[in-house]
Each structure stands twice: as structure tokens, then as C-alpha cells.
Symmetry: C2
Subunit: 81 residues, 2 copies
């Protein structure tokens, strides 16, 4: 069972990397793009066939290691295909 | 139209960060997790209502700035909800 964790800065937290990319895009002629945010994606293979059980394990990994809950939000989703 | 770009290291490229996370997880009792890869996610607002047109623009951004085609693969998908 392969799952994907999307980790993003919480809405109130300034995304310096995102702002830098947005400025660079403006310099390349993409000045009309709106809000841009950069985050991390972690894809992991968890043994077992149950999506729910795998999701619970990955959730525990997020709480214990992968995510900083002060600064970051996360979402866990199955990888399709 | 909000789109998400998932940027991952190509299969042959060593993912040092992923290996480090996998080891740390093993130390926390998650020794049974399989392959783990770390990548970037960029979410961006592109003006217009056409998914196809927005996807083409984001594709151009990837080729011109966001992605290093030597090391990285990417996928563009609409953000639902």
C-alpha cells in the first residue's frame, strides 16, 4: 500500500520559497499567477492491504517525525496507479 | 484554477533525505516501511477556467523554472475542493 503525505506550511506562515518562485516566474512572463505555496511530498510503502490501517500508521509517523505541527499542515492520500 | 505540481527525484537518483527519514522511522518502531521518497509540491493559482489551458501554462513553468529535468520527474494535477 503506497501512501502520499502532502506537507504544507499553515496559512498564516510566510512561505519565503514560494514568494521567491513567484517573483522568478514574474520575470519569465508569468506575472499573472496568483498565490503560490511550496511544500513537501513524502511517498511511502506501508505493508498491508488495508487503506485505513496504512493511513493510521502514516498518520502516526507524521505526528512523531514527519510534520512540525506548529508550522505545518498535512494530508495523507493513497497513491493511485 | 488551482493546480498542484508534484516534483520527485527520478527513479535512478539517490534520495538521501528519504533514506535518512526511513532510518529515523526505523528507530521509532516503523522498521517495516518500504521504499520512501521525498519530493516537493508546488500549489499555484493560474487565472482562467480551462483546466487544459492552466495545465499547459504550469507545464511551461515547470520546463522553464520549477523542475530540473536531469534529476526530477513531475506531474501536474488539479487541486480538488
Amino acid at each position: 500500500m503506497r501512501l502520499r503525505v502532502l506537507i504544507r506550511l499553515k496559512p498564516g506562515i510566510m512561505d519565503v520559497q514560494g514568494t521567491a518562485i513567484q517573483r522568478a516566474l514574474a520575470g519569465l512572463g508569468f506575472g499573472d499567477v496568483g498565490d503560490l505555496r511550496v511544500g513537501k511530498v513524502i511517498e511511502v510503502d506501508v505493508p498491508g492491504d488495508s487503506v485505513d490501517a496504512a493511513r493510521r500508521r502514516v498518520d502516526e509517523m507524521c505526528r512523531k517525525l514527519l510534520v512540525n505541527p506548529i508550522l505545518e499542515d498535512y494530508a495523507v492520500e493513497p497513491v493511485v496507479g
